[in-house]
Structure formats: C-alpha cells, structure tokens
Symmetry: C2
Subunit: 336 residues, 2 copies
C-alpha cells in the first residue's frame, strides 16, 4: 500500500499534515459555517433557555458492521442521549483518536457515514480534533462525540416522576446491535437483520406531536433494556414488570443469543428508546412511534409496579417470572 494512504504520526502533529487530513476528510464531509470558521471553538447562536449537553466515547470493534459503523454510532449515540433527555439535538463535536496505520480511505468512510447520520438527525458537526497514537496503542479509530441541544417544553421529569401503573413502551425490537457485534466477532452469519444503529429523534418527535409527554425516556445501549430499566427501578424506588410475550425480539437475534449464550435483554440497542408514559397513553405512544421510520416495531411491553422481588421482573410466556438486575460485569466488551 502507498504510505500516503495511511494515517501516520505526522497527521497528529498539529501542523501541515494534520491540516491536510482535516481539510481532505473532515471538512469535506462535515462542511457547515460554524465548522468552516475553524476557530478554536465553534460559535453558535443562542441555544435556548435550557441547554442539554452530553458526551460519549465510542470504541466499537469491529469498526464496520452490518447496519452501521463507528461513525454512524458516534453521531447517533450522542443524538440519542440528547433526545431521551427531552432535548432537540442541534450541534455535535467529534474528536478522533486514530491509530497509526489506519487507511485514510477507512477514515473517510467513517466521516462520510457521520455526515450522513448528522444530516439525517438534523444536527451539525461544528467542532473537532484529531490525535494520532502509535501502532499498538490504539485500535483503528476511537471517536468521542459531545452534543448540545435545546430542551423541549415538557421534557421528561425523570425517574422521580414515574408512577405505579405507568406503562413501558419500546420503539422496536431489542438487542439488534449487540447481536450483530457478537455475531461478527464469532464468525456467525447474520440472518436478515443488521444493527438498529440510528437516531431516535423521529420516534421521540412522533410522541410529542401526538401530545404525549413521557415521564422518562432512555436509549438502552450498553447493558441493554434490562440494565436501563433496572437503573430506573433503583432511582424511582419501583419495580418494572415486563411481559415476554409483548417484548419484540427478532428471530435472528434469538438465534445468535441461543448459539452464544447471550440474553437479548442485556444486549445493546443503538436506535431504540424505552419510554415510561401514563397507562392511558401507552397505545397512543406505541402507535405514534409506529408511524415513523425506525418505530415500526413499537410496543407497550410492561408497566411500573410497587417494589417486588427484583428491579425488573419478566413474566415469561409460560407464566413464570425471571428477575433482572443491572448487568453485573461485561457480557460483550466494546459493543459501542
């Protein structure tokens, strides 16, 4: 391979090579007025009376997977953290830690994917940074995004506002992303599905447009839906009862889980939202989500109950119960 086709330590110098890489890859892909100004900080017009601010680091391995790549994940992950906080995502920053030897063509694919995901989610990537580490001190590329959004009127008040009897709604099948990564690493063929990696802004907007004000929302990433709901249970002092019969899990995900001994409730989703709404709003929320892209499989899956035998109680198809707590340690490293 032509040595000019890979990232070298010189690309991390802050000098001409860095400038050329940023110009040829990132500026070309992410171009927008705030970024083009190339100052030390992006300058943004007033964001709103309340501002949401979040960050996530992405270290997923492999970098490219069925249904997405680390770039799409890095944009959608931060967009989703803003969206579930009840914010309209507006601006992202993106910092790259590149391992010497990464193909520039691969970096460009990642940047192109980020640009597409950002456009699709209605956000602009306005600030960035690029560092290079020696071979064997990184792994391809790590991406950290941070995001700024404008808080909505009627944003979720959080765990403390959840009431016994409230309904739990999920925007689509669970565990797709985790199953895809697990399958790639194990050399398993995927049967007709890919990562759910995507922005949840559409399904969240749909709920608000339908007049529904969720009390709590979360994107169940690392640790899966069981961990997200167990955290809610702990914070709210309640239990969450889930009906297995209503829980959407793709056949392909079940197959991967059976072969590899994984539990879909602990598998990461990267394009789903789980929302707690008033019991009377459950069907309207699921129905509003089903009207938009990415929400086709939305379902009411359970309800909030008084504290019982465990934080999350799954009622199985056969009338039994299975208890879930937060994932204790690592089911699958570097899932996102």
């Amino acid at each position: 391979m032509d040595p000019r086709d890979v990232v070298t330590l010189g690309h991390g110098s802050g000098g001409k090579m860095t400038h050329a890489l940023v110009r040829d890859v990132f500026m070309r892909r992410f171009s927008n007025p705030a970024l083009v100004a190339m100052g030390d900080s992006a300058v943004l017009d007033a964001v709103g009376a309340k501002v949401a601010f979040t960050t996530d680091a992405f270290v997923v391995s492999p970098l490219f997977f069925t249904g997405g790549d680390i770039g799409k994940l890095a944009v959608c992950g931060t967009v989703n953290d803003l969206a579930v906080a009840g914010a309209v995502p507006l601006y992202l920053s993106a910092a790259f830690i590149v391992e010497e030897g990464l193909k520039i063509a691969d970096l460009d694919l990642v940047a192109a994917s980020m640009a597409e995901a950002a456009t699709s989610a209605g956000v602009a990537i306005v600030a960035g940074d690029t560092k290079v580490v020696e071979r064997g001190h990184g792994d391809g590329v790590f991406i950290t995004t941070a995001g700024v959004g404008r808080m909505r009127q009627g944003a979720p008040e959080g765990p403390g506002s959840v009431r016994i009897g409230d309904a739990v709604v999920v925007s689509g099948p669970i565990g797709d992303h985790g199953a895809v990564i697990a399958a790639h690493r194990s050399g398993l063929a995927l049967e007709g599905f890919g990562s759910d990696c995507g922005a949840v802004t559409g399904v969240v907007d749909a709920m608000y447009r339908a007049g529904i004000r969720p009390r709590f929302m979360r994107d169940p990433t690392r640790g899966g839906i069981a961990t997200a709901l167990a955290e809610l249970a702990g914070q709210a002092g309640v239990s969450v009862a889930i009906r297995e019969a209503d829980l959407p899990v793709r056949d392909g995900v079940r197959t991967v889980c059976e072969i590899l001994g994984l539990d879909p409730l602990y598998l990461a989703c990267e394009g789903r939202v789980v929302a707690v709404v008033g019991a009377d709003d459950a069907e309207a929320a699921a129905s509003a989500m089903r009207e938009v892209d990415g929400g086709e499989g939305a379902r009411a899956i359970g309800e909030i109950s008084a504290p019982t035998s465990g934080p999350v109680v799954l009622r199985t198809r056969y009338g039994g119960t299975r208890l879930y707590d937060r994932l204790a340690s690592e089911q699958l490293p570097r899932i996102c």
Copy 2:
C-alpha cells in the same frame, strides 16, 4: 497487585462495575448538581446569546509529567480553546477511554487533578462517559473533553480583523510543556521548570479588565507558537515578524532543545496565549497579563507586517532572519 485495584473490561460494561467506578472516582471528584442528576445529558441554564463549543482529545504520554498530568491538560486545553475564542468557559464534558489494567489509583489521581483544574478555572464537569479497551488496544487512559462557554461582548473578530502594524503579545515563556515531555521521554533531568499546563482564563480576563479588545487570540499548543502564528498569517494574508531578543524562552527549555535538536518555536505551550492587539495596546496588554498568576512573563514579541518572505519571520539577536511556516510533520508525537 490486588486485581480489584486495576481497571478491567467489566468496568466498561455499562452495568454495576461501571456504575461503581463512576461513583467512586468520577462522581466523588467532580460532584456538582448537573452531574449528580446522572441523566443521559446534563441540563444547563441558558448559556447566553452566543455560545462557544469546542472539543479536544488528549493522548499525552507519559500520563504524569512535571507540572501536570493528562487530567489537568484535558481540562485546561478545552478551557483555553474557549477562552481564546473570547468565551467565558462554563461547562465541560469528559470521556475516558481506559486501557484494561490501568491502576484505579492512577485514574483517581487524574480525576482529582481534573477536579482541581476545573475549580481553578471556574468550570463544572457536568457530563461524562467511560469506556474500557483490552490491554494493548489503548495506552493507560485517553481523555476527550468538550466545553461550552458564553461568548463575551468584544470577543476577538479573528484573523480577518488583524491589521498591519498590530502588536503580538505572548503571556509567558514558550515551549515549557513540549520541553518537559521531550525531556521525560529522553530521560533528561529538568532544571528548575515544569510544564506550563494551566488555564489562560486569568490572563485573558486581565486584558479585558484593562479595556483591551484583542483582535485575535490563540493558545499555541501542538506545533508551538510558530505554527499558531503561521496559521494566522495564512488566514489573514499577512506576515508576522517576531523579535528573538524579546521572545521569552527559559534557559532549561533552551538546554533541552539544544540537546535534543528541537526548536522552542515549534514546542507546545499548554498554558500560554498569544494575542494580537492594536500597536498602542501592546504594553498595556503585556502589563495587564503580568499582574495575574501565569502571566508573569508576558511580553510584546513582534508585529504584523505586510506579506514578506515567509509567514513568520524571526529577527535573530544577531540581526539575521529565520523563516518559519507551520510545522510540516511531527516533531514530537503525543505531546497533548
């Protein structure tokens, strides 16, 4: 060593171990109301009519060095990017990519150092994330910070506003940070100095308090003061003339440079600001900086000229000239 004393892949699971690490290290060190809410995003009160937003990734090696560590650097670097854009830094996010096997005590030292630097710079760390990669796929810890600030009235208008005849002022000796890192890596003893790693908010505030409105400011990190001024020259269509006799360089830095064949003008500073002000304001700007911590060595070092033989022209002590452009490739990898 007790295996409980090091970071493991389980700490990256998003489950109980992650929660414990975040609680015992980061929450303990960074505690503030926005962070303690532990939502998916921090929710901030209105930031201002114009908002500055920036990010930087930090991969410095070694993690701990004379005068600072990666944590202090990660806070000050982003604070400084906001400050030189003309913003008052307010909020930071911090994302950690930890290599399996890092001592938790070291991570705690880094977090303590970040907390101290944040308090000192008047910012709150309000959002964070922690990921863990396998041994040999990272290097101790990488930290990416992003920052949000409120733009000042009278923020610098940037390179386009720079005029021929304007003065160039630097807030203190150059190259300290780069020399420290180079010396550590080469096993050279340091003679009476450490990294300048620190926030430039004090010296910037001092200029504004003195009624000075800089046309341009930058913190000359990777690529050093030569690269920062060469970029300015390129963007503004001017040259920058620097007087070697007025350029503050510590004796210890000169020694390191002579031994290792480095040029102090290309060495990173991590606590300096270079400002362009009207010629009549040069002495007042340097004098205002000298009144505050970290600005003791402030000097007017040169002026903006019509485009000439190179972007940056150093007039040597002996009456000759030496030309500087942006650093072409890598003088010193992983300086920050």
